[in-house]
Chain length 226, copies 2
């Protein structure tokens, strides 16, 4: 009976005090499918940590493997150095946001954005296992372009030594979304202002070959077919 | 002589220990023109602050007036409550990032993103002056759509009371950018992998009128002419 129930319920992250918003609770989502889709679609995350008592937020490359995020750095970057010096790890907050539309209400007060965001709280640890480090680098490359890690030269020993990657388990996680049109006040409905949503679109331009690329090497299907 | 020199040099933010990167220093920029252009083009910032000893990063609406940022919240949101309770203000880091392209190198190691980002360190204060609060709300609306604040109903007293805005002076600020193609190692130039940049494009879809919009009200020129 219990297994039948858990099979029916979608897998989800357990809400915590930090992941239940103080307002607009109906915009919060915890199911893996929603959270992972947002994480997989964005290109940068914003990595927050504390340095000398003050908050720092840096845009960072990342990749996801199951319920883990891998965050990219070099061995010289500040959060990476701090994570390797910190025991037991670096407390972080990682946030990913996609903006989907501009919401124009009749009143200034109700203007908003449509968006999807994910916030992850946790402790980041530097990846030290060589096999996990290789898998993390593949995930980082495949996050930029799915399938690309198999079509590039793998990192050599020197490059692996120069790259530091932070692992952040997905455990205390939530998504938040706003969709739909503006929420004007009933008394404003007759005002003469246009109201609605302007969608924001994201796309890919024509791939630009590097100056030193052999012109006989054409852009691969994983670039041209999307 | 001094005034002639300062007229010739572009206005710039003074670098500090926190705004000089530990690596890729050539990617750092401090001039107002570069910093403000990035701030004006993005739609959300990532607001970092410390709550109960842990970092928190939240996507946030914002607007810029000269050398000030205004960050949006409601009087019930956590950072706003913290800023109003904190004396002398809430230490924050605000980061804005635009991703411009996917950089595909021949080696996994040299994959990257082209991007433009701005990081602001400082102390945020809740706006309490009614006149400044109105100006800040106009800036927030005009950041979503330039010119829109003049074509919507201004906030009334009840709405002003329900809105809290944080002010963050632009003082300790830097921009960071990556542009151009991949930086492959000389020994990799003959590898058979395609290499170059895939540009990311952002655009606007057709405006979607609200369901309850009077169909005689057409989308205004500030929406259709961009």
């Amino acid at each position: 009976m219990e297994s039948a129930m858990s099979a029916a319920a979608p897998a989800a992250y357990a809400p915590t005090d930090r992941t239940v918003p103080t307002r607009s609770r109906d915009r919060a989502h915890y199911d893996h499918e929603t959270v992972h889709a947002i994480l997989d679609q964005a290109y940068v995350c914003h990595l927050g940590f504390i340095r000398e008592g003050a908050p720092v937020v840096l845009p960072t490359l990342y990749g996801r493997v199951g319920r883990r995020l891998y965050l990219h750095g070099s061995t010289g970057s500040r959060p990476l150095r701090m994570a390797s010096q910190s025991d037991p790890g670096l407390p972080v907050c990682v946030t990913v946001t996609q903006v989907d539309g501009l919401v124009l209400a009749r009143s200034a007060f109700h203007h908003s954005l449509n968006y999807r965001s994910v916030v992850v709280h946790g402790t980041a640890h530097q990846v030290t296992d060589p096999q996990e480090l290789r898998e993390a680098l593949d995930a980082l490359v495949d996050h930029v372009v799915p399938g690309r890690s198999a079509d590039s030269r793998p990192a050599n020993a020197k490059e692996l030594a120069a790259t530091a990657v932070l692992r952040l388990d997905l455990d205390e996680v939530s998504a938040k979304m706003r969709t739909g049109g503006p929420n004007d006040e009933p008394e404003d409905l007759e005002l003469p202002h246009w109201t609605g949503v302007v969608p924001l679109t994201q796309g890919y331009g024509e791939p630009i070959p590097a100056d030193d690329l052999n012109p006989e090497i054409k852009a691969p299907p994983y670039l041209t077919q999307r």
